[in-house]
Symmetry: C2
Subunit: 394 residues, 2 copies
Amino acid sequence: MPAPSRQRAETARWHTAAQVLAALRRQPDITRAAMAQQLHLSSGSATEVLARMREVRLLDEEPAPIRGRGRPTTLLRPHRGGPVVLALDLRHEDWRSALATVDGRLHEPRVHRHRSREPEHVLADLRGHLRRVHRRYGPRLRAASLAVAAAIHGDRLVQASALGWGPVDLASVAEGTGLPLLAGNDATLAGIAEARTGASTAGGTALHLIVEVGIGGTLTVAGEAVTGAHGAGGEYGHLPFGDRSQRCPCGARGCWDLDVDGRALARHLGEPEPADPRTYARAVLDRAASDPYARRAVSTVAAALGAGIAGLVNLHDPEVVTLGGLGSALRTAASAPFDAAYLDGLMAFHRARPPLVLDAAHGDDGPLRGAALVGLDHVTAEAALATWAVEFRM
Amino acid sequence: MPAPSRQRAETARWHTAAQVLAALRRQPDITRAAMAQQLHLSSGSATEVLARMREVRLLDEEPAPIRGRGRPTTLLRPHRGGPVVLALDLRHEDWRSALATVDGRLHEPRVHRHRSREPEHVLADLRGHLRRVHRRYGPRLRAASLAVAAAIHGDRLVQASALGWGPVDLASVAEGTGLPLLAGNDATLAGIAEARTGASTAGGTALHLIVEVGIGGTLTVAGEAVTGAHGAGGEYGHLPFGDRSQRCPCGARGCWDLDVDGRALARHLGEPEPADPRTYARAVLDRAASDPYARRAVSTVAAALGAGIAGLVNLHDPEVVTLGGLGSALRTAASAPFDAAYLDGLMAFHRARPPLVLDAAHGDDGPLRGAALVGLDHVTAEAALATWAVEFRM
DNA sequence: CGAATATACTCGTAGCCCGAGCATAAGGTG
DNA sequence: CACCTTATGCTCGGGCTACGAGTATATTCG
């Protein structure tokens, strides 16, 4: 097999440039001088790298606000003609879009209504939007990155209880544009956003969990999600922490899912399974302040959440756990039962310093932000920069 | 903070050399020509890299067996004066040692008896052995890498039910030598060995589980273990898959551990908890062929194993699962209940192509081999090669 | 023995990163 | 306001890697 020639050199050339862009995404307001220090670049090397990056329209510079003595430095900014990524978040109630520049910032955020919830219609809407953006930005648009409230397996959506969809092929969204489509689970992408720019930026191992209908999440290591062979990992809700006699809609038994969301609250209150477990759960949480039955149900569910998280801390040994969606509300509403179950489920040696459980920082924006970051990772990888440079060298 | 100067260039220089050594460890019998193809190196670059590596005593070459036409190529061999790593495996019944060369091969394997099982004595024996090896190999010895049947937290052993130890500081093993000591859980290291040179070498995501007393293991991604913030990850046995009323010696409740080893078999048979659950389990497995009570207990335990593994497949989405220790024996002895529980616990979309469950390839050697590989990773990282080159350039 | 084949070595070139030295633009000082 | 101090950017020659093209070498095949 003849190796694509000059591949190593051509790629290695963009090694430092890729690191510069990664540093910029971590700290969008980083100065040129601070970047050079962080990457151990001599000032000469910084001059060279940035000249190259300016030349191919990756970066631009603007004067930085002056702090103290010395020659003023500059702020690194995405180039006006630089690469962009379309981030999409497909949710039960609507879908959202935004454009991301290489500094990780989102532009033109939009919330779109579903005209219908049929997969074909929704995907057609997404495709239409992508095409419009592609026409407007032309070759500057390098990828589309899609967050979905569903289990993802490669390019396929395989199960979406929130949307009520069966298996659907997502590749059609990018059809006709020739652009790469990156698809990911919404909770996984939110976890990436938390780990890079949210509540768990320490850079090591972090666990993000989000309770909505069921429970999703991801483990991140150095800001990368552990997503398995086909991107279907992170199905924390389908660990059998619960009662084996309960059959889950996913097909398995005893899923943790069934113990931690609105369905669980309804079961504990002896009420029928709610059509929309999320709003139901919010209502029960509101009631809990005055209604002792509701309070008791909330406590039971919070304890189930805490006990499961303890098991996951035993398993993963994360530095931090971040909680999103109903998770933080449950913990706030019933912190004593949550903490008790959490501590009780930890292996003894973890109890000396149990990992902090924090509320997620990004809220509803997590999936969209995560999708943007993953898209930018793709677009600013060394090989992708080499391709871009060939197209855009003036 | 003044950056260590020339750091980037000095390290980048060994980038390709590190890749060559990684390729060699993956395939110790790789030819020079095949290596160049795999790494997309032109023949000129290969000549240069190898000359450099020979010069600093990292590699040597010997004629390869001739296959077909063309100028014969060579096999890459560790240099006679090249770096070595001491791999150690501390187990309940004995401890083992071997020296590893950069091709990943083990030399001088030894099995050592415990004179006593007191931590101080055992660690003193390990330290003595390391010192002897250090005297003999001098600066060629670059690191010691230790596998232990225990939970590890940083440099400390925090809990060892197999050894009956409480918290112990392991750093003393390398005291006086100035060498880095890398400590890891035995099941984690065995998983690394399986993923790189064992039964799951595809290179993606793999899950390795080993049942002895309780259950340990690790998830590997591209041959690297997911070990958490302090290396304490992989405690699969302490996920609460079991009965919450059971208190585990680890301090938590309902641990999966309690359902899958000799202790579980004894419970199901109405016998008292065995002092040595491993040999007890082997005995029950032997009996199961003729004794229906034993067979039933084995089936129950195999089903608990299968159901738990299904949950972990839902969670991690691995390509393969490898089973070591009693795990493979249990599955073989009760394959029908195992398979039924495994399939029943999978999310529906996994059932179309459930990940294969395979027996581990390395058996008892897994932890030692994994320790060697991790030590070599440390020693052949770019920065470490730069240091070595400064010392050994002739 | 010569042709075909596969591989290794040689050499000039392109391009990265480096350090040292110089240039530049601020704040501080008398 | 001139001049010093400080922090930073720019220039330039050097050291190094990887590359391609050309050449040399060691086999098998006919």
